[in-house]
Symmetry: C2
Subunit: 243 residues, 2 copies
């Protein structure tokens, strides 16, 4: 998916919501544990319920690989399901990979060629050459970790200007993935004031607030309700800043 196609989806749905699939076997509703693949059953229900209100899904790869082979299977099946049923959804593998040369090529093979996600998150600790190998893949996106909000971020990220306002001004054509509206306490209003550009320029992620909105039988409709709430807020923001 290219930038123009993503923007069209945002306009059509009046949403720039990304639903984070941080699906944890210890947190999903108990009644799902009878399924052959509980995580896949959970994801399928969450995706079906939230698809009208979001433009992207972001599985957090760590959660899947912690379950070994079974987890990878659930991840691959989830991505394939979204691809097939909701081909207009943008899929981000949140893997925070970072390496160089032939190892980066392996990551590209895994996520772009094999799993066919649209985007991969990359931690650029090793610098420019940890990013370049991914850029050879057409219509695939690399999402770089830039300024993270944790305390330890100062240990290595000192070279980046910490003022949101000036960061956005430096990259006016940005497309940013903003995590943590919701559980991590970010304000949508503020993010939009500084972060939006004429093509929206933002995807805003929400994970736990949506997928664990309810821990019982009604988890999917509760997730839909939370996603719908955010979509309505986003509609307002799009009207105000993008027009």
């Amino acid at each position: 998916m290219n930038r123009q196609q993503l923007f069209e989806q945002i306009q059509q749905k009046q949403s720039f919501l990304c639903v984070g699939l941080d699906s944890d076997i210890n947190k999903i509703p108990e009644h799902l544990l009878d399924n052959e693949d509980p995580i896949y059953a959970f994801n399928k229900a969450i995706v079906d319920a939230t698809a009208p209100f979001c433009v992207a899904y972001k599985p957090n790869v760590a959660f899947y690989e912690s379950m070994g082979v079974q987890g990878w299977l659930a991840l691959e099946k989830t991505v394939a399901y979204i691809r097939q049923r909701y081909p207009q959804q943008f899929i981000i593998a949140d893997a925070k990979r970072g390496d160089i040369g032939n190892t980066s090529e392996m990551y590209a093979r895994t996520f772009f060629d094999r799993m066919k996600v649209d985007a991969l998150t990359v931690a650029p600790y090793m610098g420019e050459d940890s990013v370049k190998p991914f850029l050879l893949h057409q219509e695939r996106w690399v999402i770089l970790l830039a300024l993270t909000s944790n305390k330890g971020s100062e240990d290595f990220q000192l070279t980046i200007d910490r003022e949101g306002e000036s960061l956005f001004a430096k990259v006016p054509d940005h497309f940013l993935l903003v995590p943590g509206v919701g559980a991590q306490g970010g304000s949508l209003e503020e993010v939009c004031r500084y972060g939006m550009n004429s093509q929206c320029g933002l995807l805003v992620n929400s994970s736990r607030n949506i997928i664990y909105a309810d821990s019982g039988e009604d988890f999917a409709s509760a997730a839909a309700g939370e996603a719908r709430k955010l979509q309505l807020e986003m509609q307002l923001m799009l009207g105000k800043h993008v027009g």
Copy 2:
């Protein structure tokens, strides 16, 4: 495995060699492709051939996950095989993970609890809090990416002193994993001169030079030959610097 146990292995085998299992389906000998799990068959043969000459194995996780579920299976089986047959070998999952909070906890679950490797490589882009969660696991090691040798390393690693000599002086009790003696052209002599301490303090990795020493039927004995060569050089170095 703790530090003392690792040092005992080094003394006993007169080797501080780590064999890197960068096993690639496109590079292993053709006759292995008939096996049900060619990568596992390759790794098993390499491990059996090289175990007398090394103290550690380091599967590069990217190579396995690029094959999806089948790759994870090969990785888990390889680690289990080494654990069972060669319990004194130190196993490093070279995954270069880096995240915070509950995601780091997931990585620890994957590699320490589930796969039961001794050590995990971590890219500390997000700083101190991306490392701390791993330190709660007793007798498990975190290997931090510090000063990488690629060109782009200057993009983020500016805060670290670039002189090997003074880096070693700053952390006299270090245990360092030094990659790339061999294919990447490092000199064992030089690494030992600056990097050894009274408990050796080094593991030196070699991957492609050993595992792809021969592409035919004799790949395993060729790998043993290369590993043996390095072990002999290491024996000299241990005599000279550790005694």
